[in-house]
């Protein structure tokens, strides 16, 4: 379902934009407003991260947002309520991103039920590789939720094929070896890697980690389907507030 939605969108646009925010950071109200700005700016897809105390795959900016959200009292249940509210209120697909322990403690089936009820489109769990899946993708799929998986530059072709098989919605291509938020060189290497990703799957490709400015987005055009802006959105939120986010995003996408 998510894939279909994206394909439809991709008829009109050759590159979609996905943004990211940490639920409860700095508070739920700001999250609501930020999502409003994102949607208004024309964002196509929004990743809502449920904060976790040990976000091992995240870089400093998102890491600190996780901590601050937890320190401000962001409980999982409240995050899910807000996610449901946002999904009901805005007409873009929302994804839940979090670490496996949050899902595991909640109960994988119970979480899937809850996300389905909330109208969420899919989930990204970066520390749950296919080897540890243990029924997880099926449980999601049964509820119409897309289990999003990741490719990385070190994934072999065989492995990409395997991941492509159990993933749905799109594939999240990590642009380089490294955590979120640091600089990536948008180079020929990256282009070659993305070509390899393209060969490995028929799912749309999202490219994340390090997208910061117009030029990065332009670079991806034709090579991927979705540009993911993660840490940079948060940085702008921190420095320029909610309205800054809207301006920043419009600057990124404007034709």
């Amino acid at each position: 379902m998510l894939e279909k939605h994206l394909r439809t969108k991709l008829v009109d646009k050759d590159l979609l934009l996905m943004t990211h925010l940490v639920l409860g950071y700095p508070d739920f109200e700001t999250c609501r407003k930020t999502v409003g700005e994102m949607v208004a700016a024309g964002v196509d897809l929004i990743e809502l991260q449920i904060p976790f105390s040990e976000p091992m795959a995240d870089g400093p900016v998102i890491l600190r947002a996780n901590q601050d959200a937890l320190a401000a009292g962001a409980r999982v249940e409240a995050c899910l309520d807000v996610a449901a509210e946002l999904a009901a209120g805005f007409d873009v697909p929302f994804l839940i991103m979090t670490y496996f322990n949050i899902v595991y403690r909640y109960g994988v089936e119970r979480m899937a039920d809850r996300l389905q009820a909330a109208g969420i489109a899919g989930a990204i769990v970066p520390d749950l590789p296919p080897e540890e899946a243990d029924g997880y993708p099926e449980i999601l799929r049964q509820r119409g939720l897309a289990p999003i998986y990741l490719f990385s530059p070190t994934s072999t072709d065989a492995r990409m094929a395997r991941i492509a098989e159990i993933g749905e919605g799109f594939v999240y291509c990590v642009a380089r070896k490294g955590v979120t938020g640091a600089a990536t060189t948008f180079s020929d290497d990256l282009a070659a890697y993305l070509a390899r990703c393209r060969r490995a799957t028929r799912l749309p490709l999202a490219v994340g980690f390090g997208v910061r400015e117009r030029a990065d987005v332009e670079f991806l055009r034709g090579k991927a389907d979705i540009a993911v802006v993660g840490s940079e959105t948060l940085r702008v939120l921190d420095t320029h507030g909610v309205s800054g986010v809207g301006a920043f995003l419009r600057g990124l996408i404007a034709a």
């Binding site: 091992m56 937890l70 530059p153 070190t154 990590v174």
Partner: protein, 408 residues
């Protein structure tokens, strides 16, 4: 262990996709090394020329008399180079790094012991070295930081999360994700994603292999009980492996902190405060809240102050092969004082947990029973913590005078 690195329900490998290839490389290197009949001897040779393995077992005659029960023996890991069992693991991984042809190592450290050990290994093997250490620990363990820097390591204070061991681990993984081509992550304990629990336990098994032979040689039989403190679980795994197949009771002693009932402790297996979870790349018992967020832990011993625990020990908890107990900070300081006074050996605060656990039981045992305590490290490095634990006024005056001298 199954092929996915599971010990019963525990273990596994929960890692970001970008690390998968690195772990597969590590799997292969570890497999090769285990299959290489020459490797173990290479490892033993290194440890017997660079550290002083075999470390002795010492008969604690005075403690035995004082407690009036079982005969007490101590396995002296404190006599290792750098002062703790941590040396076994890092030197083993050093050999592995050499085989893999990498030029840089990184490590997390809590108490600083593993950081010093890794920096030492890096100096010896000529490797670049970065150590991640929670800011709180950097502050508590400055002497260790000083030595790591002298050894040529870069110490990165981690100011995220609760700024302790687990945060240092997260940070080290972040580094690894970015630098896996050149870098090996020297994990410090029998935790983390597969194959680390098995890998670290493999190197630490040298403790138990030696201890079993030494006990047979000097007492003519095996001990009735073996005690080890449990932080991540590596020293416990190390000594326990020597007695796994024997009719020997194995006892792991966790950090009771201010008491299990206060919530300020690091007891994951000996009480029911912890629950099954997945974090830092593996599945085990964690001290976490209902949402699955990791809790703050407390122990007088920085090296036991960890939210998770070796998945292998979790499986032994479940199978009943190992019994788990805890000792409070107060009991530990008392056991430490008694051991120093009676035997002239200074256990690390971590190790003193094993002593405290053993002392509690030794007097109830009979004279012809034997217990073996693993003294995982020496306490003289912990002087700042131990002097505070003893609340020594002369020490405080000394520090004040020293500070005044620097201000002059």
């Amino acid at each position: 262990m199954d092929s996915q690195g599971y010990f019963g329900r525990f273990g596994g490998r929960f890692i970001p996709e970008v690390l998968v290839a690195t772990f597969e490389e590590l799997d292969r290197a570890f497999d090769e090394l285990k299959r290489d009949p020459a490797f173990w001897q290479e490892y033993v040779d290194l440890m017997s020329t660079y550290s002083c393995r075999p470390t002795p077992i010492t008969y604690a005659e005075n403690l035995t008399r004082h407690l009036g029960g079982a005969r007490i023996y101590i396995k002296r890991e404190d006599l290792n180079h750098t002062g703790a069992h941590k040396a076994n693991n890092v030197m083993g991984q050093g050999l592995l790094v050499r085989r893999m042809g990498k030029s840089r190592v990184i490590a997390e450290t809590g108490a600083g012991q593993h950081g010093v050990a890794t920096a030492t290994m890096a100096a010896k093997f000529g490797l670049e070295c970065t150590i991640y250490m929670g800011e709180v620990d950097v502050e508590r363990q400055r002497p260790n930081v000083f030595w790591m820097e002298r050894l040529g390591a870069t110490v990165v204070p981690v100011d995220t999360g609760t700024r302790i061991l687990k945060d240092a681990i997260n940070e080290a993984f972040r580094d690894w994700v970015a630098n896996m081509d050149t870098t090996h992550y020297v994990f410090g304990t029998a935790c983390g994603p597969h194959p680390f629990p098995a890998l670290v336990s493999y190197f630490q098994s040298i403790i138990g292999v030696e201890a079993r032979e030494q006990m047979l040689k000097s007492t003519g039989r095996l001990p009735d009980r073996v005690y080890a403190c449990v932080g991540g679980g590596s020293n416990a795994m190390g000594i326990f492996q020597g007695f796994m197949q024997d009719d020997v009771e194995l006892v792991g002693v966790e950090a009771g902190g201010h008491g299990v009932e206060t919530g300020e402790h690091a007891v994951r297996l000996a009480a029911s405060d912890a629950s099954l979870g997945v974090a830092q790349g593996y599945k085990t018992f964690f001290l976490q809240d209902e949402d699955g967020q990791m809790r703050e832990t407390h122990s007088v011993a920085a090296g036991l102050d960890y939210v998770g625990v070796s998945p292998i020990l979790s499986s032994f908890k479940e199978s009943g092969r190992v019994r788990f107990e805890s000792a409070t900070d107060a009991e530990v300081v008392e056991a430490l004082a008694l051991t120093v006074r009676k035997e002239g050996v200074i256990p690390a605060l971590e190790s003193a947990h094993a002593f405290a656990g053993a002392f509690r039981e030794a007097s109830q045992m009979s004279n012809d029973e034997i217990i073996l305590i693993n003294q995982s490290g020496r306490g003289d490095k912990d002087i700042f913590t131990i002097a505070d634990a003893f609340d020594d006024p002369k020490w405080r005056d000394f520090i004040r005078r020293k500070a005044a001298q620097y201000d002059a």
